[in-house]
Symmetry: C2
Subunit: 110 residues, 2 copies
């Protein structure tokens, strides 16, 4: 995953409406109308959120007749997972070294 | 974790410099000078990134004399983990239901 893609994904997730849309799409595809229903928001404003999610690659949309259907791309969300896993690996590496140091220190003092 | 805090955390992570700082701090605390060294960036620009990370709560900073030391707050990063875990739970619930449906359908056809 390129860095600039990760920028767009994190940016897209930095908003409660967009996170709610991602949550809803986790349960299956939905039309823009269904997605917009729970929000007290004008449709053009809501469409901006949909477009931002689409640009980040987190969702794909497809228009059939007058209905635009959205679905999630789990691989993009998995990119956030991978980034977090990297951070955990760094952190755990550090904890391991600290533990090693403390254990060695105890051994020395015996 | 409040929604607005999650907004700030995702916003803070939507930049490669800030993600690199978070990665570096995963290995242990560091001064602003050490953190800035790998980047070809004027210090005031770099400080904007540090302040944004601090405002999101992802890092804490502490000034002693002329040196500002930064350290990571793992709990804030864990908030992203929790949000992703929620999404996975929604998704897996859906997969379970799909699997159930397919299994029941097969049973019916026997």
């Amino acid at each position: 995953m390129e860095q600039y893609q990760l920028d767009g994904i994190f940016q897209a997730l930095a908003d409660p409406t967009r996170r709610a849309v991602v949550g809803r799409l986790g349960r299956g595809p939905a039309s823009v109308g269904e997605l917009a229903a729970p929000f007290d928001m004008a449709l053009p404003s809501f469409m901006k959120h949909i477009r931002m999610l689409e640009e980040s690659g987190l969702i794909r949309t497809n228009k059939t007749g007058r209905v635009r259907t959205c679905e999630i791309d789990r691989l993009r969300l998995a990119a956030v997972d991978s980034w977090l896993a990297e951070q955990r690996a760094i952190w755990e590496g550090r904890t391991d070294r600290l533990e090693q140091f403390v254990t060695q220190d105890k051994e020395r003092k015996k």
